[in-house]
Symmetry: D3
């Protein structure tokens, strides 16, 4: 299995609901450094999983609506805890849709899965890996 991975980041505010979160129930924020990895069993005719420029662009587009935002105020996240794990899945869904729709420059069925890894500090990170289909 081959993979190609690109990195970008966002800086957001949010708060969590639930005693579990302790002090993180207050409005705080995070820099999320995001690594998006695209998996394929075979390379394409150019010898790549997908074009790395396209990969960077696709990740950037998914992150654009989140940059410098208070996630608590985004309608699509209403009633949700925008945890690091939750966001890995959110980004995955958008990247997988881009893959299925051929927007990554390669037929979606030639990509097997996508992994989204978010580093929230030098001591903690989370990721989500799931099929494209």
């Amino acid at each position: 299995m081959f993979a190609v991975e690109v990195r970008d980041h966002i800086m957001i505010a949010h708060s969590f609901k639930g005693a579990l979160f302790g002090p993180a129930q207050a409005l705080h924020g995070a820099t999320f450094v995001i690594d998006a990895a695209f998996f394929a069993a075979q390379l394409d005719a150019n010898g790549v999983v997908i074009d790395i420029g396209r990969a960077h662009e696709a990740l950037k587009q998914v992150l654009e609506p989140l940059k410098y935002k208070n996630l608590d105020e985004l309608p699509e996240f209403a009633g949700k805890n925008t945890t690091t794990e939750f966001l890995t899945q959110h980004i995955h869904e958008h990247l997988a849709a881009a893959a299925r729709e051929g927007r990554l420059g390669r037929p979606g069925n030639e990509l097997s899965s996508i992994r989204v890894l978010i580093s929230e500090s030098h001591v903690a990170r989370a990721w989500y890996e799931a099929p494209v289909a």
Copy 2:
């Protein structure tokens, strides 16, 4: 599959038995930077794999008996080569036990596996991944 990963470290002394190890047969030491990743197919009601504070605490408790120790002198490691690989499994066993016993704040059967990764320098690391059950 979701994962959440936390980092901690220990600074220990040890020696190895076996010609394979060359100069590392002498008493030497290491800083082991440990990343413990917890895997789950689904997020819990709070939107997390497990609480990250709990994850940090669980890892810290497993590492506590090893901190600033000469591993050659710990009875539980008698007759063992405490290689990086060996230690990944040792730490895994303790974390998996904590998971099974519900000490990570979530029913153990909701966590699928744990991966323990140890970086021993900027050019070498080892890991062990196995089911919680």
Copy 3:
């Protein structure tokens, strides 16, 4: 010149005033990974700049009031842009005061300067270095 440096982090929300900041004028947030370096011309009798445990503790105490906070709501920062640069100086002031008051376990006049470096992402950081006295 000797230096010893320790690392910790905070996750905060804030917003900036001024057209210069573009989208960062909105409420957003950041993970700030902070490296505090303490400089001394000579090592002490133990062979250290200062005890590394004390250094970790001192940094932690300075960061405690900022952890999981919306900096816009802290009275001491009223009317200020809590930029990365601003925060390096804020943390420096508190650490320098701790040094001058001997709370780092060594007479303050034996420490020459302190540098506070904040990494706000994998592509941007800022620092402030100034004398202890």
Copy 4:
């Protein structure tokens, strides 16, 4: 599953054929930092996946013919785009052959797979993972 991973690097020139590559169609170059991971279900009698010194040496030998080269001029790569992905597979093939032939100090059938990960910058990397057999 256990893994041990070692790191080395090469600095090469190359160019790509195909409109997909845009400006990278011109002769340019890269530092490739390579992490080679060796997987095994069980540790050997010494308590390791393979000797880490052997792993470093094996990777170094595979990289030797590529160091400080213009990959466009190497006969074995004629007509190929030596993309990061392509090179992960190239290195994998050589390491897997070394494993199968027992040149890693352990019977090849005791090693299950090898993953070769190449970091080409602080924002992009690729990897290939496949069985040894």
Copy 5:
């Protein structure tokens, strides 16, 4: 003294003249990850050294003519060894000119110096620090 630092990268080919360089006399290449740090004694009215967006943009513009190039073919580098050290100075000159001409959004005389650091691998880097004036 305050500093703000931003990161970008280039992927280039080049060769060196001189027996000192051994195998690096052949045409090879490198990924250069570049950190440009801007120093100022005082923050401006916004509370920054310079706008970080401007800093990223300024570095990008200086690097643009070098991206995906064979440095041996650039007229401005004719007869020069484009070593890592040499390139730190080259980039510095262009950034210092931008600072002096007020293109960084702050009067040039309010910036004291610039440091350009290039990481060429995980085990080697070089830097150049000099006044803006």
Copy 6:
């Protein structure tokens, strides 16, 4: 001012004397990742501070007697606390001597200073910078 920096590492055992060190008074160990930076006001005729291969070799030679050792047993360190700070100075002395004796491939008086930085974990490091002369 120009600088070139190279990285290597050692894995050692040692213990400390003094209540200040708490649990680190016991025999333990560390991986020390060492960055040695060489400073010069001018580049040489080849366009480098010193040959990077020579720099790597010089650092390796200084570290050789320490690799896989229990520092408590080395006669030259008798009665000393081999703290991270102490070791930065020890390595500096040897590298500065190499520089002064022309063993770095450039007259010693053309090198101004050397900085030795030791990372002992992902959250702590120390360094020593002093003139070559």
